[in-house]
Point group: C2
Chain length 558, copies 2
């Protein structure tokens, strides 16, 4: 029985994506308090950077919903970007619910699940564009929007407590090159039906106007490629399939043949072709064939626009790419945005290219990038169509969500709620009410290990990164007599004027004195010896280096 009774409630809980751009994990629950049935909308990751050394992937902690896996009816993925589907394989074993997505997304989901050895286990339901999903109290319709990847979907979620519009990622582009234009009709119709709450993308809320059309990028890229006389490499995110289409058109218009460079380019192109895209494109060539072409007849489509050291473009810039070489007079067009935090690595890449005589052209110089997310005018249009009673901004940092809620109020939306991850928000005709706060941490993929962000490993490594490490070992008998050592090693510490040998000697003497100063009753006690040595070395180190290295002490009992 799905009909509402007095005790049923509808709640929204973001576990990721509220407070950061990326790493989306949204929950909707309906039912009596504490006995709700749940759906997950999107299950994404975000990526580490120089502030998270050794952690490449960061995921929302799914603990809250994993504990309710029995009441989890399904996982719906709005589109195939990593920040919306990248955590599926890692967490599915704890969730074990069926997965729903449209064909392009599902193609890439299968790819990922196969890699993780889960393909045979996960019930997959491929939904057509505009299709319907029925899960307990949730009746859902996919609504086609526009974004930078094929098949971006909003979800209309009908519940006994009201209708929700979950936008996913979107923009308004009358001429998107890939996929249909925004299905405004469906949005207007839902608005007329009456939308209780809209959960909406906040990425570009600080940017006035519109994100701009991909068609504009195509025109400029066609022109810009036409101006080049040498080889052209276009650097873009492989996941920006619209941009790949744009680059392919720019190549063909200028009589250049396309060569894909980078593993994820091939992977995305596979998915795109699976849904019928690029069907009319001229055949691509491989890297060896491309190298044999005249310089003005080839266009490389490359990964690595963010200066990722192992991606194709960085290897090309350093001259270490096996088949792709760029020479003076060749050009690299950065058809992508600079992700905050990546500036230094991007600039290093661009400097290396410039040093090699390669022309570097970016989105600042020429109009060769547009965002896939809505700017303020597009948000205004969406609110005009949907006219929700409640605005719940997601997909943004704290300041984005607050600004978006403010914008919604200016647009006469009755209730705005800028959530934090873990907020349980009850949605009803009375508005949005915070009814609980549930665990909502982050999980790091630290090497091969999934570990809570607050688990301490990264914090310890940052201490090591700042101040280095000293290890000390000594062998002590039960009377407290030293039989061997102390010996000390340094790692990550600069050489002082007196030289490494002299300070190691000083450290060892200090450790030895510390052992000899241990009070009689503690002598020979391993722990007391360890503490005494550690404290003494810790006191000395700042006087040598002006910083506090990690001090590791091993006392071997004899």
């Amino acid at each position: 029985m799905n009909s509402a009774n007095r005790k049923d409630r509808l709640v929204f809980v973001p576990l990721g994506g509220s407070g950061e751009i990326g790493m989306n994990l949204n929950l909707y629950g309906f039912g009596p308090e504490g006995r709700e049935k749940w759906i997950i909308v999107d299950l994404g990751v975000t990526f580490g950077d120089t502030t998270t050394p050794g952690v490449e992937v960061i995921m929302p902690d799914p603990q809250f919903i994993a504990e309710r896996a029995d009441d989890l009816l399904g996982i719906i993925l709005t589109h195939a970007h990593e920040d919306h589907m990248g955590a599926l394989a890692a967490f599915w074993p704890d969730l074990r619910a069926p997965v729903y997505a449209t064909p392009f997304t599902m193609y890439l989901v299968r790819d990922r699940l196969a890699e993780a050895g889960l393909l045979d286990e996960v019930p997959l339901h491929e939904i057509p564009l505009g299709g319907h999903i029925s899960l307990g109290p949730f009746e859902m319709d996919m609504v086609t929007l526009t974004h930078s990847i094929p098949e971006p979907n909003a979800l209309l979620i009908r519940t006994p407590a009201g209708l929700i519009l979950h936008t996913g990622d979107w923009k308004i582009d009358p001429d998107p090159l890939i996929g249909e234009a925004t299905d405004a009709k469906a949005l207007i119709k839902a608005g007329e039906e009456g939308i209780l709450a809209m959960v909406c993308d906040s990425t570009n809320v600080f940017t006035e106007g519109e994100a701009g059309s991909e068609a504009g990028v195509r025109d400029e890229l066609i022109k810009l490629v036409g101006e080049q006389e040498g080889r052209v490499a276009v650097a873009a995110f492989a996941s920006n399939v619209a941009r790949l289409q744009t680059a392919v058109e720019a190549a063909e218009y200028n009589g250049r043949t396309v060569c894909l460079v980078g593993r994820s380019m091939h992977r995305m192109m596979g998915a795109a072709r699976h849904v019928g895209l690029f069907a009319n494109a001229k055949p691509f060539i491989d890297e060896e064939e491309a190298a044999a072409l005249p310089r003005n007849k080839v266009l490389y489509l490359c990964t690595g626009s963010q200066g990722e050291p192992r991606a194709a473009l960085s290897r090309i810039a350093s001259g270490s790419h096996r088949h792709v070489k760029l020479s003076p007079g060749d050009s690299v067009l950065f058809s992508s945005r600079v992700i905050p935090g990546n500036e230094k690595s991007i600039f290093a890449l661009q400097n290396a290219l410039a040093s090699a005589g390669v022309n570097v052209i970016g989105e600042k110089e020429r109009h060769i990038h547009v965002s896939g997310h809505p700017c303020r005018d597009e948000l205004r249009q969406m609110y005009a169509w949907a006219r929700p009673k409640i605005a719940i901004p997601v997909h943004g940092e704290r300041r984005h969500l607050i600004e978006h809620a403010k914008l919604a109020r200016e647009l006469q939306v009755a209730h705005g709620f800028a959530p934090r991850n873990g907020d349980m928000i009850k949605l009803s005709e009375e508005g949005a009410e915070l009814v609980d706060e549930v665990p909502a941490g982050r999980i790091h993929r630290d090497g091969d290990i999934l570990t809570p962000a607050e688990g301490g490993a990264l914090r310890e490594r940052k201490k090591l990164a700042f101040a280095g490490a000293i290890s000390v070992a000594l062998a002590v008998d039960s009377a407290g007599r030293i039989h061997s050592g102390p010996e000390a090693n340094l790692f990550g510490l600069a050489e002082p004027a007196e030289g490494f040998d002299a300070v190691i000697e000083q450290l060892c003497e200090t450790a030895q004195n510390a052992v000899q100063s241990i009070s009689k009753q503690d002598r020979g006690d391993e722990l007391a010896t360890e503490n005494a040595v550690r404290q003494a070395v810790r006191r000395l180190a700042p006087r040598i280096w002006g910083k506090r290295p990690h001090v590791d002490v091993i006392v071997l009992p004899l």
Copy 2:
């Protein structure tokens, strides 16, 4: 005798500032090859970031000129920014030459030298604006330009081999608020005399148009402060004295009293007042007085616009500042640029402020910042005035210098040379010729220690940051028998599913087996034992963590 003879040559050697923005160290030499007399123009630092953990300050390696200190005639500082004078105190003991600067710069130089205990040792020569310096073959005139700090000077350097214009940092601002407008007359006159080479700022060579006038910022800031109803904090670089003036005017216009927050604000204001600036400003108040004022009567002028964790604004945002509190409805105006690499810390600061209900307004939202460096139209104007035979772009990354040399060629400059640090460039009527490459590394201030960047400490720490550390110790007799241990400690490693205790046991077993597998002739050998243990642990670690931690082994002989 300073007159040129056939063997004399004029050379320019950048040791810093060519390949990076900041850290300027320029040398000019004149005389017979290998026996030149030298001057230094500027001696600056740059600052570390998340890519250089534990290193806050980076300096050019002065080794080449330190080895020629006997032939060093003087150190001329063009202006008081850290990237032009911040390394003086650290390196002066190796250089021991007299220092020349105009009054504002000299005030801050004295401050720094006093801190370093060098004030009584360094011969200081305060030069008036437009003043002359005569050092051996170098006859120099200071030319007043415009920048974001008082008294920015270009240097006209007359040598027997020709006239050089060393621009320092500059822009063209007809209404600069602080200081005189650019002394175009002097530049035009020098151009008519005939400039052999111009060594010129490249910071904004990728930006079309002009940097914009400080007067425009003043108008907007007056308006914006007028719109605010709560407390206003303006975040700016203390070294941007022009901006401090602008903020003070915006406060006074709106009936607000200024309160300086942050040590460097007070320091810069002291220097500014020393040269007669702010003489007509209303008295500032201290933090306690400011807290007692009505919210709409105060304007805080704060350091910390880059999200530096220990600066005033971060402490205000976290609520830990002793006297300055901001509440919902108060506003922070970021009147500064985002330095690449600082995005994450700035956004974190802005999110914290937004979370506290504070309005955050930056240069993207309102016109409250202009650069102090020349954009392309200003560069064009400078080349039209100076008409040098040779263009030497400095103060930029590689791609800036290359683009600037290209621009100069478009402007009909006969010779362009985009130098690398350490290039020794001979300047003559024939053009610019690379005649040598001299050592030009970087020095890190790593804690209290000055150490070559390539010294290894930072590289080791980055390894630790990525993969953590394992230390192992054991006590072994001369027959190779283990008497105690192996014991192992971990630091910076995530907990695997089997738990820390289990993997430590596994590591110790592995170490023990490694010792027992040592060939007979090596048994009991310390180094062989250490290597065997290290190799075994190194092989095991990736299977547990999927990464390669640093493995430190201490074998204690018995």
